[in-house]
Every structure is written in structure tokens, then in C-alpha cells.
């Protein structure tokens, strides 16, 4: 299967996660309202001012028709861009690393990567009425060293995902070869 990034020879994708659908649904409701708005206004005009657009060839009628068409096209393309933005924000967990792919607008894409072996702690946070109802929240991965923490907001089933991540991290830790301590040895010449 194609991936966003080259996989190692023994690397497998275990989870591919994106934000909860409720996040997009909130945007969709707003866009649907703006899409319905001109039709509502048209209904009001038909009901209360039916004589307004009687002449279909008048400047005013044509201008309003073009304006409404441009408005609907603008809202539809903004809705589409919002969908692409939502669909391309993805968190990929393989058996070796975690990748956070963030799409900011159409031409700005950020991919950050974290080795599973560098995970120190994973915390999940569900805050608010709607997140509690739909079981989504933020997962924060604390890393070893100076690397920034990883945070992925609005993830579905954050507790389960967090638990799985910790399990994977521990599995990678146990597979790591033990590091041999480097003991300085003195050569006979050095003794002299």
C-alpha cells in the first residue's frame, strides 16, 4: 500500500488515526447554514416582496443572480477546502515510530516524526460535554530528551490509543539490544 512516507523494511503501519468526525460535523453545520442562507432569503422575498424580480432582464435581477451564484460557489469551495484539511490531518503509528501529518491550508504540510523508543509517557485528556459524550480528546506524548512533546487533538478513543502506544513503546524498548558499557582499557604501553 502507498504511504505518505517511505517505510523501513520491517516497518508496518498499525494505526492510522484522524480527528473525530464531530470536529468536521461542527464545521459542516456552519457551512450548511451559509449555504441555506440565500435560499431562505429567496423564500422571504417570494413571500413578502414578490414584485422585486419581476423583470428577469433588469440589471438588478441579473446582478443579484450573479452575486448569489458567486456566493454559493465561494461557500462550496470553502467547505471543500475544510474537508480536505480535515481528511489530510492524520496520525500514523507504525511498529517503529509515530508520524503526525498536519495539513495547514492547501499548500502547507507539516510532518513530524517520533521514534516509539523515545516515548516516556502518554497522557489522554477528555475535556467538555461533547468530547465526553462522543469519547474524543487530546493525546499528549512526552518524549525523552529535548524533542518537543507530541500532541494530537480531538482523537477518538484517546485512552485506548494511549494504552496501545505505551504497549508498543515498551515492546520496542524490550527489543532494543543491551548497550555494552564502554570501559577504557589500558594498554601495556600506557601503563608505562
Amino acid at each position: 500500500m502507498r504511504e505518505l512516507f517511505p517505510l523501513g523494511s520491517s516497518e508496518q503501519v498499525l494505526m492510522r488515526l484522524r480527528q473525530h468526525w464531530v470536529i468536521f460535523a461542527r464545521h459542516a453545520i456552519i457551512y450548511c447554514f451559509f449555504l441555506a442562507l440565500p435560499f431562505g432569503l429567496w423564500w422571504l422575498q417570494q413571500r413578502f416582496l414578490p414584485e422585486l424580480f419581476l423583470d428577469p432582464t433588469s440589471f438588478f435581477t441579473i446582478a443579484i443572480e450573479l452575486l448569489m451564484s458567486a456566493y454559493l460557489l465561494f461557500v462550496l469551495q470553502a467547505f471543500f477546502t475544510s474537508w480536505v484539511d480535515y481528511a489530510l490531518d492524520v496520525w500514523v503509528v507504525t511498529n517503529q515510530r509515530v508520524l503526525n501529518v498536519v495539513q495547514n491550508g492547501l499548500f502547507h504540510r507539516t510532518v513530524s516524526e517520533l521514534d516509539l523508543g523515545n516515548i516516556q509517557d502518554v497522557s489522554s485528556n477528555i475535556k467538555g460535554v461533547i468530547p465526553t459524550m462522543f469519547n474524543y480528546g487530546t493525546i499528549t506524548v512526552e518524549t525523552a530528551g529535548e524533542q518537543d512533546n507530541f500532541a494530537f487533538p480531538n482523537l477518538p478513543h484517546p485512552e485506548m490509543v494511549g494504552k496501545k502506544l505505551l504497549e508498543l513503546s515498551r515492546a520496542v524498548e524490550t527489543k532494543k539490544p543491551a548497550v555494552q558499557p564502554v570501559v577504557p582499557t589500558l594498554t601495556p604501553k600506557a601503563k608505562l
Binding site: F59, F60, E65, V90
Partner: protein, 88 residues
């Protein structure tokens, strides 16, 4: 006052070109990363259908207006004349 209808169509045409460029960029992302999210293809076809519907509706509404004609901009005369009721 008469205004050539094309004066209305030119800005509209420029705007449609702008929307088309955004649409191509969106479709590029959807098709390129379709393997990540197959639902994107369904959503993209819905958005395309919506836009086609809007353009078809606009074309239908303007179908009886020749694009090279002039339209008359008129101000209702009763707005310019003081009403009889307000006269002393």
C-alpha cells in the same frame, strides 16, 4: 442609464476562474491522498456536483439574457418624487 451586461459578467468570470483554481488544488490533494481516506472521493464528488448545480442554475437563470446586450438601470420614479401625502 444603460450598462453593458458584460460589465457584470467579467468580474463574475474572474471569480469563477479563482474558484476553479481552488477546486483543482483541492482535487489534486483528494486524488493524491485518496489511499489515505476513500471517503474523500465521495465528498469530492458531492462538492463537484454542488458546484455544477450552482453553475447550471446560474446559466439557466440567465439563459434568456443575451450577454452582449445592455441593461437599463432604472430608479423607481416614485422614490425621486415627494409623495403627495407629505406635501403641505
Amino acid at each position: 442609464m444603460s450598462i453593458p451586461l458584460i460589465a457584470l459578467f467579467i468580474p463574475y468570470g474572474i471569480f469563477v476562474v479563482f474558484v476553479a483554481i481552488r477546486l483543482i488544488a483541492n482535487m489534486y490533494h483528494v486524488l493524491r491522498y485518496a489511499f489515505l481516506h476513500r471517503a474523500s472521493l465521495i465528498m469530492a464528488s458531492l462538492f463537484l456536483a454542488g458546484m455544477a448545480l450552482v453553475l447550471a442554475g446560474t446559466a439557466q437563470a440567465l439563459s434568456n439574457t443575451p450577454w452582449n446586450s445592455s441593461v437599463r438601470v432604472t430608479v423607481p420614479t416614485n422614490l425621486l418624487q415627494p409623495s403627495q401625502e407629505n406635501l403641505p
